[in-house]
Amino acid sequence: MSQKYKVILTVIGLSLISAFWILWSSFNPVNEKALVKFISVREILNSKNIERVRIGGVVADSSIIVSPSNRMEVYFNIKEGTSILPVKFVGTRPDLFKHGAEVIVEGAYSNGSFNADMLQTKCASRYEGDLRDASSYKLDDINI
Amino acid sequence: MIWLLLLFLMFSSLFLFSIWPLFLKEIINDKEDHDLLNTLERRKSILYREIQYLDNEYLIKNIHAEDYNSFRAELLSEISEIIDQINLLSPKQGI
């Protein structure tokens, strides 16, 4: 077989092997953290126990409670519309984690509550929201 | 008011600048051959470099004599073709 065809065959072979590898990995992820389902708060409240899942929502006001016995442990509620899900997370909390922050958690859901081992907040690329109005902003009070 | 005027002035001057060439007498563009010439010159210098590289490879015994000779001959014939083309375009050029 001429060299040209050998080359073409090798190219096709390499491409097919790679494509197969990519597709195979999609159905055989190396661990449960590779491909994780992302569902809404409302959906999870209506479902049975799930081994690993990702949820996104907003931290409900006045819901953050840091465990007095273990400062790494925090309890809070994730809110989406009117659905509320209680979450427990153990680990270092991101700087932007506070009431009203947009968060994403990953972990196990069982018996109506969520045990998270991953907690992420959205990157603050800028302040979002309304402009400070004249009365709420006083240069002297906020010492900058 | 004055801003409107300035705006109008800027727009007009830019517009005039752009359409100015349309009022010139018709121009025949003869720059095409320059491009071709430069392309050929460039191709020639690339081929010379290839020959240099080939010589080096032969010197450090990376190529067989037969391959070396045949590749070199191919490159040289390509170069002479190009030189012919260059001479056709501008007789004063050439090696």
Partner: protein, 659 residues
Amino acid sequence: MIPVFGSVSISLAASFSILSILSLLFYIRTGDYRLFLSGRRMAIVVSFLVIISTFILVNELISSNFNIDYVAHHTSLETPTIYKISALWAGQSGSLLFWLFILSIFSLITIHQNKNRYHGMMPWVLIVILIVQLFFLILTTFITNPFEATKADFEVVNGLGLNPLLQNLTMAIHPPILYLGFVGFTIPFAFAFAALMTKESGSLWIRSIRRWSLVAWLSLSCGIILGGWWAYQELGWGGYWAWDPVENASFMPWLTGTAFLHSIIIQEKKNMLRLWNMILIMITFILTIFGTFLTRSGVMSSVHSFTQSPLGPFFLSFVIILLFVCVFFVVKNLSNLKSDKRIESLTSRESGFLFNNVIFVTLCFAVFWGTIFPVITEAIQGTKITVGPPFFNQVTIPIGLFLLFLTGVGPLLAWRKTSIQNLKNNFTLPVIISLSSSIVFLFFGLRGYVVISLMLSVFVSISISMEFKRGIYSRVKRFNESILTALVTLIKKNRSRYGGYFVHLGIVLMFIGFTGQAFNMKKEFGLAINQQNHLGDVNLKLVKLWPEERSNHFSWIAELLVTGDDGNIITSLRPEKRIYFHLDPNPDRRQPHSELDIHSTIKRDIYSVFSSIDTDNNIAFFQIMINPLVRLVWYGAYILVFGTLIALWPSNRKKLLLQ
């Protein structure tokens, strides 16, 4: 009144771009050279107007004109001037104008460079650039106008300002450098498209494209690495790459761009692979626009993404139109793209380049697949699936290692064909040394991908060293030069090739650095004064803990004494827990920020994060990480930049001819 000027300039630029495109199209139709001159002048006007508009916006930013919505949202009176300027690319509409600004400068450079040549291609080159400019001009005129007036029924005394987390130099220059890369690929694309339309096959413009692509590639590389460096230094999760959709958006064009840089060499030397190169540069350019779509549309959930914006459909439509147009014209001109030369041997450098290209494209596809997988599964199944780093690593590591392997194989192959004898001569030493090294690695307890990665790094290093040796040896033999002189002259006379080898050495170093991640260690714990904890072979003792009030924030500072298992002091770390706006009456406005401290050596980084503090009991909580070999990633990056600069350095061609 001046802001209106800015807005009008943009609208005017849009009109001029349409006029210019029409003028150039008519020139192509009729051949009346005056139409070309006029169209070219209009293109200059377009760029000129964009530049003016940008200067106006920057001026408004610096002078804090809060009547402009963009200024009010992205700066405040307290923002340092340099960040007022960088606010130009901090927000949606400003960054679009900034994209236009860079493209306009590139357009002017291109016009100037080619004043007296390529008169066949230039009309098409300009048309492509103008169409891209027009797209962004339409967006900034009608959809997100940076000069929009502030909508408030009170007088805005001060703006919202820039988040202190983003007020550092790296964050400020990371976007412009990335944009130089993204926008930079527009020019090679324009030339390639022009060559397609004019059936140009000459090699002259390829040299021009190659330099533009190299500059764009260098910028993109720097931008990506800077992003990783910033994430590592500032964000506190201890890593530099998260396979986030926005990161992937910049990585994909980098991959195809790298492939293009390689295969364009073949086209320049041997006039082969023309169809392949045409497709590659088109894909690279389309990926830059697609990447912008991913980043801005809100279609992917990412920690980076801008909020949901109406821009998504516009970018997606532009991408689809570009795809159709490119495919159409490539198919139409297929016969012109066929090369008369063929690859002659499976074991030739030409086929090595081709295989490396195939792998780069495959890698790009793998990243692409992982990035849009969530969108696809949502569309088909209705459920959203998040694709995490483990998936990307699982897929890309083997492919990346194979690429590393090819990097070593390339220099060992000869052009056109490598005889069996040569294969034996060239491959024996590198194969033996790398296999022996793998035995050593296995003996030390290393396993799996780590061993393969290190073994291949050895293989590539040997292979590249052999190339240097060959070149030096031939000069020494031919011209009797000393080894040092030979080395320097060799590099000077073959800047592309040897610059490229330096880049490869940089990549090898980076791969070794990446391999270090397999040995990362992490631990979280709390310490009271004089308490200690340990991680790996390192002990950390909290010796001091004190608060400090500073000009724009409040800080808790912890001093950790780091000692080795043998008792020797390694270093003292001082991570801080800061609170910006700590005096703001609204507690949710207070902004905590962990200022990391890292003790960095080649062997490993000791990475300390002050997570939180229990002020009642005076206990401080830390996250400590030991990250081996991270430094090699940055060193590798320096070498990569160094190598590229060598390749870019202008050479004196006349001298070469005479030699």
